[in-house]
């Protein structure tokens, strides 16, 4: 029973949790959401650019996208965040006078997620049947308009589940920005838990942080499953037999 008590005290010290939870609501949660949403938006825009470069007919553009994606996907996130945060931070400080590493954290998360989202978009766009491009061009649309109006929208649609998964990963990876030493008001869920754990010598604040993360990620996971199933089954609409053609067909058979 000693062990059980010890575990309960280490992980489920209600008092320690109660102390940290208001701060997580007031500071940690908004910061985590801002980090994930802003870098998610920038990463999506960057990813779309990379995807279009990746399928471009211009070889140089394809190479730039390829090299960028290979590097950013190949590095551990912790390394990317440190290098960008500490490497480019001083330059930004000199240019803007801002000492906050917050923009650098967003930049690092955006650059990383852009590489993954670019691959997601590229695979989606390339999975669209080539007859779609052909039919659009046959109507008289240019290559660019055909891609923009017909091919790319279909490609994006079918990778929405993968895109939401990437956003879930981004929420989790946003915890790594603690390494940049954020100001007290800029701290996200994980760092608030970490600070409280360090002060109290108790792990319960981490458990509180875990609950916050799960409250964000589990609904998103189920949202992915929902849109995935919806896209597989399609909108429920009844398919009718081809009345007009059937009349001609059957009647003219004899």
């Amino acid at each position: 029973m000693d062990i059980l008590n010890q575990l309960a005290e280490t992980f489920f010290d209600w008092e320690a949790m109660g102390e940290v939870i208001p701060k997580m609501f007031a500071v940690g949660l908004p910061n985590t959401i801002v980090l994930a949403v802003v870098s998610g938006i920038i990463g999506t825009a960057l990813g779309m650019l990379l995807a279009l470069m990746g399928i471009s007919r211009n070889a140089a553009a394809r190479w730039v996208a390829r090299i960028y994606t290979d590097i950013l996907r190949g590095l551990p996130p912790v390394l990317t965040i440190l290098v960008i945060g500490f490497g480019f931070g001083p330059i930004i400080r000199e240019l803007t006078g801002s000492t906050s590493p917050y923009p650098m954290a967003i930049a690092a998360l955006s650059l990383m997620s852009g590489a993954y989202i670019g691959e997601i978009f590229r695979s989606g766009i390339q999975s669209v049947d080539k007859g779609q491009l052909e039919a659009t061009r046959a109507l008289g649309f240019s290559y660019g308009s055909s891609m923009r109006l017909v091919v790319v929208p279909q490609g994006i649609r079918r990778v929405l589940p993968a895109l939401v998964n990437q956003f879930i990963a981004l929420i989790k990876e946003s915890s790594l920005v603690f390494m940049l030493g954020l100001l007290a008001t800029e701290r996200e869920i994980f760092q608030i838990g970490k600070d409280a754990a360090a002060n109290s010598g108790n792990l319960s604040p981490y458990v509180a942080a875990a609950i916050f993360y799960l409250a964000l990620t589990i609904p998103l996971t189920h949202f992915v499953n929902f849109i995935d199933a919806r896209m597989r089954a399609g909108r429920p609409e009844k398919k009718e037999p081809d009345e007009a053609a059937a009349v001609v067909g059957k009647g003219a058979q004899a």
Partner: protein, 245 residues
């Protein structure tokens, strides 16, 4: 009197290679205004590729394409394709748009119509193919025959001078083929200039004014249908007809 502003289409000595694969080896085809030419031949003979070269979805290596006697190879290929409608074996409707939007997209973006104008025109075209009541459905909820009729309406909405049909009935269930063929026959009789790549020998024989038999990238035989079907001159055409009839 023709219902359509049809044109005369001529292809002269068309050559095309994909790498070392010489797909088209000097094709000549002349389709007089308001007439229907059908192109028959075994799979891989280059029939579908020829259509794509004639509307410059694929640029020929050599040869010339004339519309109403004027070479179009120097023109903007996008503008040429607005003058030539094309219908595909797999329909290629846009699955993320409604039936009406499939037709109105090009009218709005390429013909500069307003949203309302384009929708009215789309509904009028749908009415002609008997599918006005499906205007707000998605293509996936239509039968193959209905989808192909929408695809024909989409091409006709651009008021093309020539229509290409690339095995337009090959992907359809047998009972749906006749509805689409009936529509194609109406167009031919209405005076549309048509080039029809087909495996439907009945259509080729009864509706077309001229039949061209292609094999291995060359025109083996060409002439009026009764001549080709009743009195084939070459062994290759005789062999082909005995296989398919």
């Amino acid at each position: 009197m023709s219902e359509f502003a049809s044109g005369t289409l001529t292809a002269k000595n068309i050559h095309l290679s994909f790498g070392s694969n010489h797909v088209l080896r000097g094709i000549d085809l002349h389709v007089e205004k308001g007439t229907t030419a059908s192109v028959i031949g075994p799979s891989g003979s280059g029939k579908s590729t020829l259509l794509r070269v004639m509307n410059r979805l694929i640029e020929p290596d050599q040869g010339d394409i004339l519309l109403d006697g004027r070479s179009v190879l120097k023109d903007n290929p996008d503008e040429l394709r607005r003058r030539i409608g094309m219908v595909f074996q797999q329909f290629n409707l846009f699955p993320h748009k409604t039936v009406a939007e499939n037709i109105s997209l090009a009218l709005r973006k390429l013909r500069g119509m307003s949203k309302e104008q384009a929708r009215d025109e789309a509904l009028a075209q749908l009415d002609l193919v008997g599918l006005k009541h499906k205007a707000d459905s998605r293509p996936a909820n239509l039968s193959g025959g209905q989808q192909q009729r929408v695809a024909i309406a989409r091409a006709l909405a651009m008021k093309p001078e020539v229509m290409f049909f690339d095995e337009a009935t090959s992907a359809l269930d047998p009972e749906l083929v006749k509805g689409v063929l009936a529509l194609m026959t109406d167009l031919a009789q209405g005076g549309m200039t048509m080039v029809v790549v087909t495996h439907e020998m009945g259509f080729s024989r009864n509706v077309s004014d001229i039949v061209t038999f292609m094999d291995a990238g060359v025109v083996v035989e060409s002439g009026p249908p009764e001549q080709l079907f009743t009195n084939p001159q070459t062994e290759r055409l005789q062999g082909f007809l005995s296989d398919v009839l």
